[in-house]
Amino acid sequence: MHKNTIAEVCQNLANGDYSSKELCQHLLERISRFNQSHNAFIEVSADAALSSAEAADQLRAKGANAPLLGVPIAHKDIFCTEGIRTSCGSRMLENFVPPYNATVVEKFNAAGTICLGKTNMDEFAMGSSNENSYFGSVANPWDTDRVPGGSSGGSAAAVAARLVPATTGTDTGGSIRQPAAFCGITGIKPTYGRVSRYGMIAFASSLDQGGPMATTAEDCALLLEAMSGFDERDSTCIDRPVERYIDAIDQSLNGLKVGLPREYFSAELSAPIAAALQQAIEALQKLGATFVDIDLKNQSLAVPAYYVVAPAECSSNLSRFDGVRYGHRCESPVDLEDLYKRSRAEGFGREVKRRILIGTYALSAGYYDAYYIKAQKVRNLISQDFARAFEQVDVILGPTTPTTAFKHGENSDDPVAMYLNDIFTIPANLAGLPALSAPCGFVEGLPVGLQLVGNYFDEGRLLNIAHQYQQVTDWHRQIPAGVE
């Protein structure tokens, strides 16, 4: 039953093929079997999950019909969960138990899901390999010597290893899509403002967006519908009705116009990945899609602009972690400055400190215009590139990542090489556009992801294309050896 998709779980629970409690028990056993080696979970809430599952089974017996009643999922440890430790992958919040739920968590609770635990992640969502977690790195289920990607590495690995059928993730510069690609699963970053950020610990507020990670596009459709919607507690959340994504995915792709950015099929892209993408293009052509080459000419500026905007916002967002009210506090501070300095020096890891310093510098008097303002201008240019492209095409297709999963430690000493991993994913965050990654093949046994970028609020179309593609391919059905 661990191989079931969310759609199948819903069906099987409804049919009474197994109970939610049986399913959760089975998955919890798998988690305890594999977590030692894979480290996908920071926190496993077995007791709470089992009692919630039992309650869900009872509700079902009484005729309750919440859409995801009794369906097990896991939340990235960036989403605040009332009464359950929420660390954000940091020593700073090692003992932080929030007294409130994130809106996303509340929405899933209302939809009936069971939370099995909290998944591992790069500290404060800063990283592309999950190696920046205070709770240790995560093994890629396809090759445990390799990273699962990041920052939602635990969420991706947990789904790929079939420890849980779906997870939540967040994506600031590719943190849902890149690990989804590395682990051979499907994930979508919605339009900025589609999913509430309330209770989702902020990295870069103008870029952060929560989204689902699962094995199929159909599952992502079910989950995205449950987690989307207006939230008056988040001023950047957009008041717009939520689409029935599950109805959108069955459309034909006949007449679909797909843009292929020349900049994405460039030297940075490895040849085998290009080949996998070519096969996907052919499959989509058979489904009725037509392809045109397009230009996104400012794409090369995306990574530098991102590494000004995101650190700038993070340097301010992380100021609240000062050891005064909650979180890590150093032993016996001698005065206020000592309290600040040591609490933060001890509580934050290297990459987080690096980005706080970059961001503080970028916002400093005398540098603000040269860095922050210029980066915002670049951001506008990138949005305009996309706007022009969407006058021509319905959707943009390209690779999710330039390479497949790399080895642990491979990029650890070179932050810029690490940052370039997100070269294809960052532009959608800067523009606030929805983007999805779905598996499209393997290179030397490692999954390859294709990325679809859509116009604002075009999540339904992205899920539709991925779902139709998944009807004629079975990359998403592959399961890593060793966890079957």
């Binding site: 960036i78 989403f79 605040c80 929420t86 954000c88 919040l93 932080f96 929030p98 007294p99 409130y100 994130a102 950020r197 309330y198 209770g199 989702m200 610990i201 902020a202 870069a204 507020s205 103008s206 008056e232 507690r233 988040d234 001023s235 950047t236 700038a312 916002e313 340097s315 301010s316 992380l318 100021s319 609240r320 972690f321 000062d322 005064v324 009210r325 909650y326 206020l336 600040y340 503080t360 916002l363 400093s364 008097a365 603000y368 922050y372």
Partner: protein, 478 residues
């Protein structure tokens, strides 16, 4: 040497919203520490600010009341610095695009002349919490009840040239925010705080001198004293061959001096940038029109009406309209008592104010409310009692809940206006003082006062003074 003082004020007016500017917590003053701080006020991880529209409305009302530009699109920005009572490590404020732009107010100076003071801008921001240094030995407590309270920071142009002008301006802003009901103006509780930027220069110089910013001034009296002290200090430095340093200074009311708090070098680089958690505030003309309709009559207009329609002298009108509560009290009094405006004005600004001053009370805390005060004025107006008796009655009303009529009745204080009764008392007094009568008739007219006093004494103060005077003059002439 001729020195010129240049002063600009930054006034923080706490907006009288029910809840905080970015959270639903109450803004009430005086609650137990940290009982009015929710997850947003505490800056918990993942929580987000949501703008209180009421605070925006109040800022727009202020703009309308000061003839200021309204920022059709204003942006909240983060001011980053670390402090224990600043929970997020940044204060949400406004920087390059404030909600209120350039405006002006007219102030009346002591000599009766008026002066226009420019407003540079006014912006919305959240207040910080409070650090409590004396409650725990060797440790600091943090109370976040105040964190997130909405403030309107009102920045003036450096248009003031003396401490008195600065006080007149501060009082004017105080009067406006209370008139339009956006701030309770309570300076003791910190609802209305003034920071003064003070510099001096040679008269006729175009260039401004180096300024010091004085903080922590919580009364108009202290504002005047702090500025005067600071001006003297700066002149002394320059005349002694020194240079004024740009710094922030705290006013110490106990010692009546300002003390250095931090220099420019120690000042923070606040790293302002637009807050990505909040959308720009777009103000529609329809909202402005709607708020315009809710504005009450403002001090200037009311003063003009008091002069034109109530025929009050400029000075009276100015004093009566400086504070909305006073003007309301005054108008309620004339409506209910039928007293002439001039009589009511004399009694409000004279007898009532002097008693309030002596008792250290605000009008709102007056033991005699408008209704009881009107009862007293009505009896003076209809000549039931004289003004002198009125003062005695007001004293008695101050310490009791009795009405003027009850006191008049009980004490038998009704004025004697019956001419035969007064005539009899006059005759008695004249008869008892033949030598004075002779002197008076010989030309010592000063003795009229003696006779008035004697008759008044005989009537126990109740004789109608006007009547008494007229009749006495006749009788004395013989």
């Amino acid at each position: 040497m001729q020195w010129e003082t240049v002063i600009g004020l930054e006034i923080h007016a706490q907006l009288a919203t029910k809840s905080k500017i970015f959270s639903a917590s109450s803004t009430d003053f005086g609650a137990e520490p940290n009982t009015q701080a929710n997850a947003v006020d505490l800056g918990m991880p993942g929580v987000l600010p949501v703008l209180n529209r009421e605070a925006v409305h109040m800022a727009i009302k202020f703009a309308l009341a000061t003839d200021a530009e309204i920022g059709k699109r204003s942006v909240f920005a983060r001011k980053n610095y670390f402090y224990p009572d600043l929970p997020k490590g940044y204060q949400i404020s406004q920087m390059s695009l404030p909600i209120v732009g350039k405006g002006a107010v007219e102030v009346t100076l002591d000599d009766g002349t008026t002066k226009t003071i420019g407003l540079t801008r006014a912006h919305l921001e959240e207040d910080a919490g409070k650090s409590v240094h004396d409650a725990y030995h060797g440790q600091t407590g943090v109370d976040l009840n105040r964190a997130g309270t909405p403030l309107l920071e009102i920045v003036s142009e450096p248009d003031m040239r003396s401490a008195k002008e600065a006080v007149a301006y501060a009082r004017k802003i105080h009067s406006i925010v209370r008139y339009i009901d956006i701030c309770d103006g309570n300076m003791q509780e910190g609802s209305f705080r003034c920071d003064a930027n003070v510099s001096v220069r040679m008269a006729g110089d175009d260039k401004l001198g180096t300024r010091a910013e004085i903080k922590n001034v919580n009364s108009f009296r202290f504002l005047e004293r702090a500025i005067n002290f600071e001006v003297e200090r700066q002149i002394d430095i320059i005349e002694g061959g020194g240079e004024v340093v740009q710094e922030t200074r705290l006013y110490d009311a106990d010692n009546d001096e300002t003390r250095s708090m931090r220099s420019k070098e120690e000042a923070n680089d606040y790293r302002y940038f637009p807050d990505p958690d909040l959308l720009p505030v777009e103000v529609e003309q329809s909202l402005i029109d709607e708020l315009q309709k809710t504005l009450p009559e403002l001090p200037e207009t009311r003063k003009a009406r008091f002069v034109d329609e109530l025929k009050l002298p400029e000075y009276d009108a100015s004093v009566l309209t400086a504070d909305k509560a006073t003007a309301d009290f005054f108008e309620a009094t004339i409506a209910a008592s039928g007293a002439t405006p001039k009589l009511a004005s004399t009694w409000v600004t004279g007898e009532l104010f002097s008693r309030l001053n002596k008792a250290g009370l605000e009008l709102t805390g007056s033991p005699v409310n408008a209704e009881r005060f009107s009862g007293l004025l009505a009896r003076i107006q209809d000549n039931t009692i004289s003004g002198k008796i009125g003062k005695q009655i007001l004293d008695q009303m101050w310490d009791s809940t009795a009405s003027a009529d009850e006191i008049i009745e009980k004490e038998g204080l009704k004025q004697i206006s019956d001419s035969s009764e007064i005539e009899k008392m006059i005759d008695d007094v004249i008869e008892a003082n033949p030598s004075q009568l002779e002197e008076y008739r010989a030309g010592k007219e000063k003795l009229l006062a003696f006779f008035v006093g004697q008759v008044m004494k005989a009537s126990r103060g109740k004789a109608n003074p006007a009547q008494l005077n007229e009749m006495l003059r006749k009788k004395l002439k013989g």
